[in-house]
Amino acid sequence: MGMAASQGSVSSNPNVTPMIDVMLVLLIIFMITIPQLNAGFQATPPQGQNLKPHPEEDSDQVLGIDADGNYWFNKALIRQEDLEQLTKNIFTPDREDKILYVKAHKDLSYDKVLKALDLVAKGGVSVAALISEQTPGTESLVESDRLFESGGGN
């Protein structure tokens, strides 16, 4: 029945052009993102369930503390002695948000983190947002966190 159609100029080769397009786009995107993700600082933040989502903004300041206890400020390695002065320069009294994101390795001693928090508090930071990862398969028990998440686009 339908066989008659296969005689003419209809080719039975699959058209691979769309697949190649998709693969190329994927390739380019991975090429762009992977160096950014791996640049410099790396740490495994602790996991938690009841976390508050914060949309990323350009003005966010991130302090990283890696597994060896090195400090990274916005992905640049800094010395511990410079941390207080750096935060003082950024968190000036007329800056509105006094929030500093802290991404620290989960197996660090709390002393090390507390030391850093102490320094940035002297530098004018009043809120430290401790970056954590959502434990897979869990949802925050705090209602406002979930509201923000599902209604974030509105």
């Binding site: 100029s9 052009t17 769309p18 697949m19 397009d21 998709v22 786009v25 994927l26 995107i29 602790p46 938690g48 369930q49 009841n50 976390l51 508050k52 989502p53 914060h54 949309p55 990323e56 966010d60 929030i99 994101y101 620290a104 390795h105 989960k106 197996d107 660090l108 001693s109 709390y110 002393d111 090390k112 983190v113 507390l114 030391k115 928090l117 102490d118 940035v120 508090a121 002297k122 930071v125 009043s126 809120v127 430290a128 947002a129 401790l130 970056i131 954590s132 990862e133 959502q134 925050s140 028990l141 705090v142 974030g152």
Partner: protein, 141 residues
Amino acid sequence: MGMSSEGGAGGGHSNEINVTPMIDVLLVLLIIFMMIIPLSRKTIDTQLPDPNPQVQSANDPSNQIVLSVLADGKYKINADEVDRAGLAEKLHSVYDQRPDKIIFVKGDSTVTYGDVVFGMDQARGAGVKVIGITPAPKDGQ
């Protein structure tokens, strides 16, 4: 020349643009953006201690709740010791009838950061709104 054999525009040839590749590419872009957006940071917000306290903490109100993280994976709420599994329940029983949802978190010098964050996480789950960090002990105290 070549036109003659194909029969020109009369046959099954369509002049419409084939949009399938474009849709493929756009779908992939869409999926990738959907994966990137949930990467917005998830954090536990904590209040840092005032570096220049005006009043010494000796006359703090006595109804504060201090969560101490102990070295052996145990936690202490004020004076009551509780283990990791029972922490959420204990915090619930404390905070369910308290109007002020404030907790202070204090870590033993040997605990890991992960254990402290676990305690804060459980506290948020129990309804705590404000998490305060207690200052680092000064040398010689």
